[in-house]
Symmetry: C2
């Protein structure tokens, strides 16, 4: 085939003109493939002059090694795996775009790529994860939404595949992770509310199977202690991850004999449910009942009043996770690859000094609901 011949239509599977291979570079310079390979990969037994000559020629000829051709010998495909669970309509949504942006950014800085897959259930996630591992589609995996006991970890550990978790776990042996200090956020939220004069402060946790949930409850209790407020188990509401559940949890807490005048939520979305509950009970968020939550979903800004929350920088999380994972794949010990980052408070209007005492609030609620 002469140079300039170009496949027409779909004759050639892909890539119009023939690729320039390592053999082309070698022939062009009158050296062997092996020399080119070693020069380009920084082996020590190549003369500096030769290395320069080769890398310049490679550059000029536009030589790009095929990562999958390299992979067959090296066992590295230069790709990071990410298996997302997309179940209920809106779970991972706001989080996702920035997170992916962060991950891909860090990855492409090292000239790696991301292989992404989704599943609808935990079981589905494990199955796709296994498949990707079997077919070696990625050199390592990022595990979002870490559970207290996470079967994904068992799978990867058994196959000896590098991974990093977004979130801590119950059994940390051999695990690298990046996590946000949700416990600090919840402690700060609680002391903040206490400093406003609240004495009955409730907490609505997230999903029990998640590690973060336990941590945030811990932070809440620390906050109470720091403020000198006795912990009341009744003020731990039922777990809530959705608006609907948050609505119910809020109603349940307000129905207590001595209701809270402030509620901390482990999850923004649940906190938005409190707005609904408040409206139904003719209560005003940020006056009759204060709210501080965690996540930083955009909807919080559009609520009325705006939701005060501890926002996580998910773009940065993605970036760090990717860089740490690459280090892990390159051999770093997992114990050295653990990072914690703070959440940042976004003050809006949902947390204010209490307008009523708990007792007055209870009386007020009695007049509203006619049960």
């Amino acid at each position: 085939m002469r140079t300039g011949d170009v496949a027409v239509g779909a004759t050639r599977p892909m890539g119009g003109r023939t690729r320039v291979t390592i053999a082309d570079v070698a022939a062009h310079l009158g050296v062997t493939k092996s020399t080119v390979s070693r020069a380009l990969n920084g082996y020590p037994d190549i003369a500096e002059a030769t290395r320069l000559r080769i890398s310049r020629a490679a550059e000029r000829l536009g030589y790009r090694p095929l990562s999958h051709a390299q992979a067959i010998r090296t066992g590295r495909v230069r790709s990071l795996g990410l298996v997302l669970q997309i179940d209920d309509e809106d779970s991972a949504r706001p989080f996702l775009a920035n997170f992916i942006a962060g991950v891909t950014q860090a990855a492409s800085d090292e000239n790696w790529t991301i292989t992404i897959a989704t599943a609808e259930s935990e079981k589905g996630v494990r199955e796709t994860l296994s498949r990707l591992v079997d077919e070696h589609k990625a050199d390592g995996f990022i595990l979002p939404r870490t559970l207290l006991r996470d079967k994904r970890v068992e799978i990867l550990r058994a196959q000896n595949v590098p991974f990093i978790m977004f979130g801590r776990t119950a059994d940390p042996t051999g695990c690298a992770w990046y996590d946000i200090k949700g416990e600090d956020a919840m402690r700060a939220a609680t002391t903040r509310l206490a400093s406003f004069g609240h004495t009955r402060i409730a907490h609505v946790p997230g999903g029990e199977e998640y590690t973060y949930s336990r941590l945030r409850i811990g932070g809440y209790r620390e906050g109470l202690e720091a403020a000198g407020i006795a912990f009341d188990p009744a003020l731990i509401g039922p777990p809530a991850l959705t608006r609907q559940a948050g609505d119910m949890a809020t109603r349940a807490l307000l129905a207590l004999p001595e209701p809270p005048t402030a509620i901390t939520f482990a999850v923004d979305r649940a906190a938005l449910g409190a707005y609904r509950a408040a409206q139904a009970l003719s209560l005003r968020i940020g006056a009759d009942v204060s709210v501080i939550a965690y996540d930083g979903v955009p909807e919080g800004a559009y609520a009325d009043p705006g939701l005060t929350t501890f926002a996580v920088n998910s773009r940065q999380a993605g970036e760090r996770l990717a860089t740490l994972l690459i280090k892990r794949i390159r051999g770093a010990a997992p114990e050295e690859l653990r990072e914690l980052a703070p959440a940042t408070l976004i003050e809006r209007g949902s947390d204010r000094p209490p307008r009523l005492t708990p007792a007055a609030l209870a009386r007020h609620l009695k007049t509203q609901t006619n049960i």
Copy 2:
């Protein structure tokens, strides 16, 4: 190495126990690699009995071909490429999770994977796209957010790389696409408003560089015509893609001597800006001014009153795009790979019969603003 030997620590780059290769399967059966390969890939010159024997053995031994090992000879990595532009804070966000879910679902049904990358600018997108093409990280690409004249198309066409667009384009030669009939939606929105009794109906288009924008304006004009309303160029507002821009566009339209009592928006997010404008002008959406938009973002449901909109099923879009692209990669002609799907109307409270005539609305507005 005896069977049972397992690499400890990070000795072996990945995959604890040695992989079972095609040679293992062949040896186990006393045939050659080539026979196994042909049997598994459905070549016609393998006896049915042999094929069965081989595929059963492969199954039992847990043999999984490495796609990158196959790729080196076949030129196919069994991966779909997706380069996302994540620029302004919240552009692609709600769209993304479901879209990716759809794409990955369809891809993994065929045992393909998705290689994803992001960039912040159009230029960045083109650069990453070129890089992925050069390194053959994917066999074909999905191009979201098609522009009227799209340079990504030129890049891929030049390299003869298969692709499919989410959205139509000005020059369709050689292009496969999937798109939502936004023009139909806008026509329906307009006739619907007209049927409510609105006579002054405005339209706020999306970004001018996008194909859809032009199409939706066309639909709007068709709707006017069908309702027997004369087109008034003054009622085409400035393009708006964000809440902020939608706010401004709404104010501009309402400041007209004969203001519209209804506005159609090419984009939900812009329509949400109208709520702000209305509040500032003491107007009630769904009474003083009606609104119908397009996209189906979740925030629309939480607006008060809820935003009536034409929602696109982005999960389905992802699914179809992936399946069509795979067909394209397998050699189907692009002309046969063009699909249009309808948007579905979600009726909420933002579109109602007008409470005031345009003249009365204008008078009302004069009393509000003291300029």
